[in-house]
Symmetry: C2
Subunit: 143 residues, 2 copies
């Protein structure tokens, strides 16, 4: 999660909403890391999670990250939650909860739908004060 | 939808699950078209909708497709439904309903969640027999 927080800080420095993500393999070794790139790419789907998942699969040369863990500083939105399911990660660990936009513990609760074919294990609230603090500081500055 | 069906047929010919998508502007002019590329890219997030949304925004050089319509031959999964919301398309028109994997009229029902900030208008079942027939034929051949 320290690496994901670094990515979130780097994203903030680029003017992006500060969210960072890392994918690790079964041994806990990072396969990929990414920060939010929505503004730089002008692509609303360029969330940190999607970029990290795609990069990890690309690095392994295979579609599924069956032993992998997705670490992300903010509760994934429904797009990223479903992507984690499609890439078949074993576990999703996130920092701050996101009652307004989250899709794991809030809103669409993607993994809880009966039609979710692969529901990763979920651990929320890991270093949430730091992760949430970055977001609050970022938005406070822009108000 | 005819163009999206063409893309779905082309996807099947490449060994991809036959789903096709098109994004049109306010005047109904196609901005982008794409078929599923999950196998070719070894990327489970390379659904036709994501590829078409990203290409349309890229072509316009802006983040949002506020007057756009996403046409897709199959009910979008939760990832693609949320992506349509994030790209702020005005309307989603889909072909076949997908009770097993859909995230619009089934499962996570992404647009119906109170935390969905932008819910496009939805029209389902457009040329659904053709769209569903392509999928059934594809999977029947592989069984």
């Amino acid at each position: 999660m320290a690496l994901a927080l670094e990515e979130a800080r780097a994203a903030a420095a680029r003017g992006e909403v500060p969210v960072g993500a890392v994918v690790t393999d079964a041994a806990g070794t990072p396969l990929s890391r990414a920060g939010n790139e929505v503004e730089a790419r002008r692509d609303p789907s360029a969330h940190a999670e999607i970029l990290a998942l795609r990069a990890a699969a690309g690095r392994l040369g295979r579609k599924w990250l069956a032993d992998g863990t997705l670490w992300v500083t903010l509760e994934p939105c429904p797009m990223c939650a479903q992507a984690a399911s499609l890439f078949r990660v074993r576990r999703v660990v996130f920092g701050a909860y996101d009652p307004k936009g989250g899709g794991v513990e809030h809103g669409a609760r993607v993994f809880a739908a009966p039609s979710c074919h692969h529901a990763p294990e979920v651990v929320g609230g890991v270093r949430e004060t730091e992760a949430g603090g970055l977001l609050r500081a970022f938005f406070a500055e822009r108000r």
